[in-house]
Each structure stands twice: as structure tokens, then as C-alpha cells.
Symmetry: D2
Subunit: 338 residues, 4 copies
């Protein structure tokens, strides 16, 4: 059995990793760390894992020997302190925070407001979106797992960007369920505030902005202007990103459909559909993408479960590639549907 | 007391009109019609009106004498059969359906799929958005009350359109609570379908599209391209419309703020705010508008309670103008806030 | 104009008091205190009150002169420090916390875990449920406003208790929206925790238990065993309490209906209905009560908006009585219905 | 591979069966019937099953040969017409409707309002609750799968009933998510009606009442009075049943805990916990049970995902037993947790 560690096992991403990995046929969770819960049984903190994860939280990942791969599921700014030592010991790493997503240190430091202390590994990190960077991930020691917003946006936009049919700007109106904000209570995620509302937030200042910009540029092959407006909606799991493009030339719906089908026809987890549905993907690593011609514009929709394809599921998909396991292992279940 | 009639008292718009009018100091509800509930007490169908509306539903509005003004709160295609007779009797009319919103018969017939049988009055109908057409409403006999989406969009966009600062297209990503879909159960508004989701619908085909286009053109003074994508969100009351513009020239946030403050500074019901909130307007005729510079674009947000400022409340505001009552009478209450 | 003060204007109860009082024809809000927001405009903290409350928060209520009545809307343990001075100045007081609800100091100290420092006034406080204690409230200087759970439970149970038809125990299975928990974020009211769940909490330890017990005993005229289980449901406003009794003798549904109709037939705000509905009362001071025979048991349902009839609205109803105003002044609006 | 058929594949229970069975290692779905969708691909009706179920709906189950076991997931009154022929062909059957749950024909006909046409097999049907009737299910040809409410209630109550510690009556205050009402839109499950409410319904008339009574009597070994009040809550999946008992004698919490631990200590899917959580079981076949002493009463809570342990998951658990497969096959995944 391949031995896996999780740094940051208290939060939603950490427990979601455990939920997925405990169903995985080829790996075992050997360690989960938690500063606040060190010494406590994982199943006491996360009762839904009772019978599936028989471990105590440890203080440090170095307390556990012979790990093959470690997931880092901590707030930004923490992973960069953990990653160098892990890589030096020959342990592969998947970071689910924002620490290794942007190769440009200056951009990182501007948006996150602190110094990056591991610029060396930053250059080596592979962006963990398997549908587009499968080959790089296969050989990677360090993967930066995409953010939930970025995943939904890139899946929706990349085929159009690569097609060369669209102009150099995109408007992204994104809507996220509250679990995307993590487990720490706040005024915005207080039920009485958000439970019967939809709340635009961090307009122009959201930290996923540079990640989206970087990815979008990469697919377009040139600089794109990105306008990103995130909004909180009163659901627990799920993201819908609505992405608006101007077409450079006249195309019809069939042309658009073909571009997406060519891109995703062979993918297990990304589905090009007519009407995207959050319930169809909730609880699973599946994503749905739709794209609709509207005059001289196209609106592309991307839908994921923010905790699975938008975080832990995608990370496990990357893990499978890095460890030469079947890419879908532990992940091949449908969404809840209802 | 001014005597008011409501045609179509069973649905959400009809009962919301009754809820507002029963608090109005200067008018009395003299008649409410309902085909399916004729002969039944209004408070038996709408128990929340018990103690406030002491009437039975009647079959036809003509069963009631001496009405001064009638609201028509029926599905589209019905009002046009009722309005001519009412106007002929000297009764003022406010139609809350789509029947009299577009002066161009061809556009109506294309989007609604049936012939318009009252083209004469169609030309005379005044668009009932008091903040922009107050003078026309004052003297009108027939007012076409704006749709809920259109109200939220126009309030957000009109100041920018009038300013001449924006290019000739707007992308409107709109999100509505389920009460906007009316009281008839459907697959989309079934709780298990929509209760934990956000659902784009009628993309490119929604019937509020031509209304928005007509209004937007009017404020811009030239033809605007409108891209309108409505989405259903799991709240009961409330709309948030996010509207994206390209700027023609460089401006700063202060310039934008001033444009909006000049427009709405004297309005009782429209508030230019930093962070729009649905809960702040729910249950009230208030609207919130915000507008944020994002590089060479602006995103303008419009928030209303779809049943009040987006329907019945705005209709009562128009009624007050048409009857020379205080414009805020019966409406001057804050939103629920929480 | 009668001059009103509110101690504790930041929280949900304080802002709800302001929302109601600003629609009141006979009083003016002369002061609102807030420790954390002293010096800030009320409408900046509560934007939905913009245009309705033109005040700054003050630090202490004693900063304002010539108050006629003060509402205390603070957490328990605070009111007892404020009330003596207010009463000494001849200012009437309505306390919305738990400090003055129980005449038995020992019971208070056991459940709240601290000493009661104003036992003198505790004995004089009148329990502010107008439908049952109208006469006492009329002459009161100090009113202890009932809790939201207690209001819903007493309205449902009192007629049966008074009838002598039921045995000496009641099971109360109560469900509350999240605004009942106040504005301070917590793990339980975090949307991702409670937004798609129903959560029993404080089973056997909830602080409203002794208040319910006291009230129930009073109506029964003897000691009742109360089993109270509160549960959090994912709505913002509203409580449904389901109360189960054993009948002492055989009765039929008509007998039960008559008991309730006799009790509430003349009340403006309490409605005996067949099928209780939270939406029918939301946003209003109305309550709905239903009572159904089930074999040798009766289930009685009580429904209120926890912030209105369950808190601020009921307090204003008491204020009207204490100040010899019309009991319904400022409160006579229907619920939202939809 | 064992070949499985599903009669009634359009509804929520049918699609949930397919969702679970497509993850099952030992069986294949050979047929799904649907009257309204015959000839249509299953994945076109249920897009979340795309890539997992590669079948067309057929009109009749007899169109498919060599089935080993058939699930009947139709409204009540339909199964009794299908079951005799299936059993005659040697096909095992699990009925998820109410048709075979009650052995007393008179009780069935009273509550369901029509004649039972297969009274012979009715007597042979085994009640499919594995935690209590495992041995009978092992040898059964026909299993009546418990209802969702009944499952949550029995799991909570049976240990107490069997203990002999409780008196002969139980009050069940049950709360269900909307998916329990099925996929057909209705006024009650319309989002604007139920989305911000909790709605008691079918008080005293719900068809699960006799099923609960029958089961409760069986465990008690004598006649119990059951008071059952179902309530609709605004979540999609999940049931919480709160069950109140009088104790015959004085016990302490430890005694109660021991009773439950003895009952469920060896069960994979039923967990005795301190604080039950719907999110902990959603999407899974797990149930949580809690039981709390409150004076001379006990409140027992039962929590399930109504579509899994309350329907399709439990049916698959029975199937595993009937086919001599591992009882947990296809089902051994944790709940979503968040």
C-alpha cells in the first residue's frame, strides 16, 4: 500500500481528502496532522469518517515515517514552510493552497501580501489540472492543485481560448456555495446573513483572480483581460461560473459544440452538456460544462463540486497520475443527482 | 376612499398587491377577481391576509361598480382582453404582465408567440418606472408595470447609459429567487431540483429580454447589444442583477459614484450603496444599486425584492402617481434587514 | 412624541426594534446605544434603516435626556445592571433578555450561572405576553419580554392548559430559524453546518426551559413536567413549536377548536388556523396556532417570526400598552405570505 | 455477473438505485423500465448517470431475460400487479413501495384506499430492515423495503422497545427533506412554499403511520400507541425523527447508552452518537442514532438519508443478503460530512 499523509486535517479540504482516500483501493492514509486537534481521534472530530479512518491527528507530518506522498491542505502561507523538507526526503507533494499556483513571485506577493519563502520549488510546481496538464503531472514531484473557482472557470473557458475564436477578454460571473469559504465561521457565512441571499464579495480583490488570469493567458497564448466577480450563494457544495466572451468571427452553435466535444470527449470527469446542473456533480469528481452562442458572444458555464473536482477530488486525480495509479481510482462514482 | 380592483388575485403578484394595499391609507380594495376561486373568501386562499382583506373573490371585474383604478395581475395574453373595456369606462389601469411593455407589436408577437389584440392602447401605455418616467406616469391612464428582472437591471444600468461613458453593449448576469416564477409548481421550482442549486434557464430566450433591450436603448439613446442570462437561485424573494459594461474612456470610482448619487440622491426607494444586500430590501419597495470600476470595465449591481419593487410595490408607486397621492403612500417601510 | 431609547442596537433584536419603531406613528427613537459602534451612524451599521433612523449610536443611554421608555436588547446579565437606574429616573423599561423573566432568583442563577444583582425589581417585573397579561402590562414600569421559543409555546399551549383537559406533562419539539441565535457567527450557525441540516441542540440544557416551565405552570395552575427539545432549521426567520399533550378525558376536535377560538377570537395578532404556516407570519407580529386531536393526545402548533412576535414586535406591543397607545400601533401589517 | 432489473426508473428511488448499483462490484443493471421514457437512454433522463448506466428504458420488465432480482420502485398499488409474475419466474423481488409492508390486508386497504390484489405474497414478504431481520432477509424471495420515515424511527426506537424500559406509547416528531416527497412537483414542495418554512402535513393521516405502528408493536412485543407527526423541512436529502418515550423505571444515561451500544456495536451502517447530524449521513447508507435521558423520559433521534438508508441503499443491503453477497458491497462509503 502506498502511504499518504495529509497536513491540515481539520478543515473541509482535509476531511474531504480523507473521505475520498478511504475509498481508494491502492493507498492508505498513514497520517493526518492538526495543530488544534493533535492527539484526538480523527473520527471524533469528523464523525462521518467513523469506521473509515482509524487514526489520531498528529502534530507534525515528520512524526510519521515512510510516506510516499503528502497533501498540504492548509491556509496559504503555510505550505511553503512544509514543502521543501518533504521534497528533500523524496516525498511527493500536492499543495491545495495558493502557495505554488503562480510562477511569478511578484504576483503572489502582491495578492497574498507576504513574502514567498520557497521560490525555488515555486518554479518547479506543476499546475494540477489533469485534463490539460496530464503529462506534466505524471512526472511531477510537486503539484499545485488548482483553486475551486479556477477549476470551474478553466474547464469552461479553455476550449474556446485554445480555439482562437474569441477576443482577448472574458467576464467571469462566478457563484459559489458556502463550503468554499472553509470551516471557520464568519459574518458573511453566518446563516442569517447568507441563507436567503446572494452576496457579491471581494469584487476586484479576490485572491483567485491572478490564478485565473495566469491560466487563461496560458490557454489563449496571449494576454487576456479577466473580469472576475465572485458571489456567495446559499448552497453548501457547488460552483457555477458563467463566462462571457466576444467572438472574433461568426460561428454557429454546432461549431462551438464540436470544439468542446473534441476537447472533452475522451475525459472521464468532464462532461459537455446542454444544461449544467450542480446536483449532477455534487459529491463527485465530475464537472459539467456548457457553452451557448448568444449573438456575437458566447457564454460558457462551468460546474463543479468545489470540495471534490474543485479541491480534494482533483488532488487525488493528480495523486493517481503522480503514483502511476489508474487516474480514476477512488474517484469513479457519479454525482448525487438529487 | 379611492376604490381599487385587482384582476388575478390568486397568484403571488395579486396577493402581494393586496398585502401592500391593505396598509395604504388612501385606498380600499373593492374587488379581487379569480377564476378558480370565485366565491371564496380571499383570506381563505391567502390566510396571511386574514383580518386585512374582507372580500370574496369575484369572477369578473365588471361585477364591481365605481372602481377608480384596476391592477391586472394575470399571465401575459390576458390583460389585452381586459384593458380596453376598463379604459372605456374611465378606469385607470396598471398592467403587471408583459402585454403593454413593448410599443413594437412585432417584437411582442415574436417573443410571446401570439397576436396582440389591443395595439391601440399599446401605443399609449406608459412604462411604469417612476424614478425615470415620473412625469409620464402622473398623467397616464394605462401603465405597463416593468418586469422584475427589468427593474433590477434598469436601476443598475440607466445612470451609466445616460452618462455616455459606456460602450454599446452590456452583459447582464441575473439571479432570481423562486417567487419570480410564480405560484404554479414546475419541475424547475420543485425544491429537490432547485433547493441546493443555481440553474441557468431560458438562456437567449427569456421573455424579459426584449423589455430590457427596449429600456436600455431608450436610456442610451442608441442601440445597445444586450446579453441576458437569467439564473434561478434557492431563495424565495430577491433578485441580484450583475451588469457588465466597457468604458469608452478612463474614469475613476469617484466619477462613477457621482453619476449614481446625482441620479438617485433624491429618490426615496433607490439607494446607491457599496455592498448591495438582498436582505436589506426584502419585503419592501426599496432597491439597492452598486457600481464598481474594474479596470476598463464597470460592474453595476441592482437588487430588488422581485414581488415588491419588482412587481406589486412598484405598481402601487405608479398608482400613487396616477391618483395624485403621495408617491410613497403605503410603501414607506424599510426592508427586513435580517 | 414619546421618546424611546434602545440599549443594544447592534444585534438583531435591537435593529428589529428600530425597524418597527420607525414605522410607529406615536413615538420617536431618541437614542440607540452600542458599545462597539458608538459614534457610528445607525444606518451605516444597518443599511436597511437608511432614510428611517437618522441617529448615531451612543455609548450610554444616560447620554440622552428625557426618555419615556427604554428597551434593553442585550445579552443576559447586562440588563440587570441598567434597569435600576432607569426605573429610578422614572423611565419605563422593557427588557428583551432573560434577566427579569423568572421571579425565582434561584432558578435564574442555576440556569444562567451567575448571581442576579437586581432581585428587587425582579419581583416587580411583569411578563410581557399581552394576550394573557394585558392588564398587568398596562400598569407596569418594568416588563420582561418573553423569549421567542416561550412565546410560540405558550400561545400554542395556554388554552389547553387553562381548559383543564390535559394531563400534567407536555413534550415540546421546537424548531427555530437561525436568526434566533443572534448575529454572532458560530460553528452551529455557519451555513455549511446548518444550511442543509436540522440540528437538535442544548437538549435538556436550553436556557429557555425554566421560562417555559414557569409559564406553563402558571396557566395550568399546578406543576407541569416540560420536555423541551430545540432544533435549528435552515431558515432565517420563524419558529414552529410542536407541543404534545395527553388528554384526561375524551374530547372531539370541535371541543378543542372552541377552546382556542374562545381564547383568541378577539385577538388581533393570534390566529387559530387549520394549517400553520411560517411564511404567513414572517415579517409581522402575527402568530398562528393550530391544535389537532390525535387519539387520546393533542398536538398544538405555535408559529411566530422569532424576531417580531418572538421579540421586538411583542415588545412594541407591550410598549403600546404601557404608554396607553393603541395596542396595534406600528404593528398592524400582515405577514409576507410568500 | 448477477443481473438486476429496476421497475420504475424515472423517479428518485429508481435513479438512486441505479446510482448505487453502478458502483456495485458484483451486479449489473440489466434493465430499467419507465412508462413515460421507454426507448429513451437512461443517461438522457438522468445526466448524472452518464458514463455509468448505458441502457435504454424499456416499457416492461418482461422485455428483459435472465434477471436474478428486480427492484420495484413505483408508487403504491403498482407493485402488487408486477410481483406475482416475477416470483413465478423465480426472480427475487424487493419492493420499495408500501404494497408489501403490512401483513394485515385490512390495515393496508384502510390506509391506501384500494384493494390488495396479491394477498398471498403479502404474507410471505419479509420486512427489509437488515439490522433486525437479517436472517429472514437472507432466505427471502420477496422483501418489502421499509419506508424512509419508518427506517429512521425504528432504528431510533427499537433498542428501547426491546429493553422493556419504556411505557406503551411513543410520540414521533419527524422532519423530512423534500426528496422524500418524490419528483412530481406539488404545491407543498414548490420552493416558494417550502424553501423558507417547515410544514406539518398529513397529521394523523400519513400512510407511513401503520407501518411504524406495526414495526413498533413487533419490537415492543405488545401494542404501542404511536403519535406520528411528519414535517417537511427545506433540505433536499435527510430525515431527523425525534421520538419521545416515558420510562417505566429510573435509569441513567449510561444504562441507555449501553442498550444502544449493545444493539448497534457490530453494525456497519448504524452509529450510536452523542449529537446526530444529517450531513454525516447524506449520500450514504449510514444512519445515526442518539438517545438522551430527560427526567423520566427519553428522546431518541434517528437520522438517515431518506434516499439511501431510507430507500435505495437499504434495498441494496437487502439484495446483498438475498444474493449471498457481502452485505456492505456497493454501499461502504462514508457520508458527505460537509
Amino acid at each position: 500500500m502506498t502511504r499518504i499523509g495529509i497536513i491540515g486535517g481539520t478543515g473541509y479540504t482535509g476531511s474531504e481528502l480523507a473521505r475520498i482516500l478511504c475509498m481508494h483501493p491502492d493507498v492508505e492514509i498513514a497520517a493526518m496532522t492538526s495543530r488544534q486537534n493533535a492527539g484526538v481521534r480523527v473520527a471524533d472530530v469528523h464523525p462521518f469518517l467513523s469506521g473509515y479512518v482509524d487514526l489520531q491527528f498528529t502534530e507534525r507530518i515528520s512524526d510519521t515515517k515512510d510516506l510516499d506522498l503528502v497533501f498540504v491542505a492548509t491556509p496559504h502561507g503555510v505550505a511553503m514552510n512544509e514543502v521543501p523538507a518533504l521534497l528533500n526526503q523524496g516525498i511527493k507533494v500536492i499543495d491545495l493552497s495558493g502557495d505554488y499556483r503562480m510562477h511569478d513571485v511578484g504576483v503572489y506577493e502582491k495578492w497574498y501580501g507576504h513574502t514567498h519563502t520557497d521560490t525555488e520549488n515555486l518554479q518547479k510546481a506543476v499546475y494540477g489540472l489533469p485534463e490539460f496538464f496530464r503529462d506534466e503531472i505524471l512526472g511531477a514531484d510537486l503539484v499545485a492543485n488548482p483553486g475551486c473557482y479556477a477549476t470551474s472557470i478553466i474547464l469552461a473557458c479553455a476550449p474556446l481560448l485554445k480555439s482562437g475564436l474569441v477576443e482577448d477578454e472574458v467576464i467571469v460571473d462566478a457563484k459559489s456555495g458556502t463550503s468554499g469559504a472553509g470551516m471557520v465561521p464568519s459574518a458573511r457565512t453566518h446563516h442569517s446573513t447568507c441563507g436567503e441571499s446572494i452576496i457579491p464579495y471581494s469584487v476586484g480583490t479576490h485572491r483567485h483572480t491572478p490564478e485565473v488570469e495566469m491560466a487563461v493567458d496560458r490557454f489563449a497564448g496571449s494576454h487576456m483581460k479577466v473580469t472576475f466577480v465572485p458571489q456567495l450563494i446559499p448552497i453548501v457544495r457547488g460552483i457555477l461560473s458563467s463566462c462571457y466572451f466576444n467572438l472574433k468571427e461568426e460561428v454557429n452553435q454546432e461549431d462551438i459544440d464540436e470544439i468542446y466535444r473534441n476537447q472533452y470527449g475522451g475525459e472521464r470527469f468532464v462532461h459537455y452538456v446542454k444544461e449544467p446542473s450542480i446536483r449532477a456533480v455534487v459529491g463527485s469528481n465530475h464537472a459539467q460544462v456548457a457553452s451557448r452562442l448568444m449573438g456575437d458572444k458566447v457564454v460558457a458555464f462551468g460546474v463543479v463540486d468545489n470540495l471534490v473536482k474543485g479541491a480534494a477530488g482533483q488532488a487525488v486525480q493528480c495523486m493517481n497520475l503522480m503514483l502511476n495509479l489508474k487516474e480514476t481510482a477512488g474517484l469513479d462514482v457519479p454525482g448525487l443527482g438529487v
